[in-house]
Amino acid sequence: MSFAPTSRRPRGEGLRALLWLSPWLAGVAVFFVYPLLSTVYFSFHRYDMYTLEFAGLDNYRYLLHDPRVGVSARNTLWLVAFMVPATVLFSLALAQLVTRLKAGAGLLRTVFYLPSLVPMTAGTITFVFLLNPGTGPVDHLLSLLGVRGPDWFGDPDWSKPSLTLLSLWGCGQLMVIFMAALLDVPRHLYEAAAIDGAGPWRQFRSVTLPVIAPVLMFALVTNVIYALQYFSQAMVASRVASGVTDSPGSSFSPGYPEESLLTLPQWLFQTGFRDYSMGYACVLALLLFAVSMIFTLILLRQFRGAEAGEGS
């Protein structure tokens, strides 16, 4: 009996498949394709939320003159380049620690996981207060040790590392994912490696890493996208650390200190919803979309390469 593939499908099968897919297709059309096309349309217009006027390429030309695009893109890329690896590696290290501990593992797991349950805004505000150089307990403790702490969220050189610390503090969810992956690594592989004389590092490199590679890649892809959309923590930290409130003739400039925490999504929001330059904000949205796509495609290609290597 031959099971050769046939090119002839029963009539209506394609239609049935489309029918099954239709909820998803409708969702994609309404929540992705339509907004994307609208964004492109509005990016060629001058739109202040009241009046719509064709502007040709003006919004795109302005992108080349806008000094804050460069600043915010650099800040966002810094987060991708440093915060993401730091968070992933730290989560992995914590997961390794918790899975290997004989005693107190349950307690530590809880302690490390709890911060990820704290609401983002509350956690950020608390962090800024804890690290406040004038009144914060961290600064006080450091001074007792004879160390002069930096101006964490007030110094442009330290503000992003401080946000990275915040990210490390809240990495419990990723730690749990890595724990599950680590516990999935077959024990006999370690035993075989140990018999062959592999030390802990070699075992990690040759046994653990290849097995958890898909999870690692998942963590990297999701965290890169998350970093590209980084908004709330940076906005809250800036505002709380600056101490500035909006009043007549005075408004808060996002990115305090010295625009070091101004991320691309923040600038997009500011442009669209504070300055009412909605057309230009759509250009920024497209830029962010393009950058996210590029990063995602690169990571997925790497991932497929790693999978292929593993398969062979």
């Binding site: 609208s38 509005f42 001058r46 302005y62 004038g134 101490g243 010295e258």
Partner: protein, 446 residues
Amino acid sequence: MRLVPLAAAAALLCSAALTACTAGKEAGPSLGAPRPSGSASQALPAATVELWHGFSTDAEVKAFEDAIARFNQKYPQITVKATKGVQDDQITQAVRGGNPPDVAASFTTDNVAQWCRSGAFQDLTPVIRQDGIDLSVLPAVARSYTAFAGRQCTLPLLADAYGLYYNKALMKGHQPPRTLSELADLAKKLTVRDADGTIKVAGFVPSVQYYENSPSHLGPMVGAKWYNADGTSAIGSDPAWRELLTWQKELIDWYGRDKLEKFRKGLGDEWSAEHPFYKGKVAMILDGEWRTAMIAGEAKDLDYGTAPLPVSDSRPELYGSGFTAGTVIGVPKGAAHPQQAWELVKYLTTDTGSLVTLSNALRNVPTTKAAMESPDLVKDARFQTFLDIFAHPRTSTLPASVNSVFNQEAFAAFVAKWESGSVTDLAAGLKGVDKQIDDKLKLSGG
């Protein structure tokens, strides 16, 4: 592929935009139309007028209710439904969506130009003329921040004026300074440090990042100009800004920026009873008139005085003036009951009794000359300072601009860099601010 979050971001931006097509529709009669016959003020038909405002505390809301109650005595057929705590973006969304309130008030003047230019708020000029209202009862500065491009689309409800507060106990017998050099000298004299140089008491904190010290609030001290007549930036070409920033940086450097920053960050919240001025940590501050009421409530025993802001040594004629802005109120496009809405706006902004009621309760400056001179207005020497600043012919404001928020932020961001010492060429830096503002102006259609 995780594209959904990005799509959501795009959707967030553009779902708002998609309803733009509705923004042009007129949902109700316009104020420009002649009054329906038999509708002269008192004879207006019954209606429920929706009023949105930004006030939110119990005292503020009660003050508004009292003013509305007085309005109802005059117009019993008009019911006013007030909604508190409304921000500008909510007003914008409502106007765009074709479902605006009849009357809307905003705490800031930042969006007046945008509202006037786009027609989001109706031009009040026809009804002002029709009712014979003399706008000269308002100081010129208040007229300027409520209109744009010849359209008087809002009126001032209450004003804020900014002056100098000084802690008498910390002044060591000195009189409040009248010039910038006197202010710098006195700030140094009154500053108290630990042996290691840590600041314990600051005479005056010159940083623009300190509470109310924004560039727009400090600018009037030197008579600095924001815009040229054509709306382009004058920041780089006006030497007054260079004078102010040079003075400010010298004082910051005298404190030591790191020490000053550490001191600033250790201070209490601006809107709490821990305010450093109450606690004797800062001898002199720049602040608005509302602080008098806050001190009365939060630091009753504080012995303090108020004075106009010190001014440039070369501009003594500026002494007595200051910065002003305030709450504005108007009738959005598409208001269901524009004639009744106008009566409410007119009453709240021009009726002496109403303005005095609101001013006494909220401790803001009433905007008309009659209200400022009313015997019913509760005032002492400290509050009188702000009435005088508001009425001073040289008092200035942040002129209306379609990119007001952007312009303020661009300048404030530059000044923050200047303070930190990362700007080497002040003149070139200010020219850079000009370029940012002018480029944005072009993008906005001039």
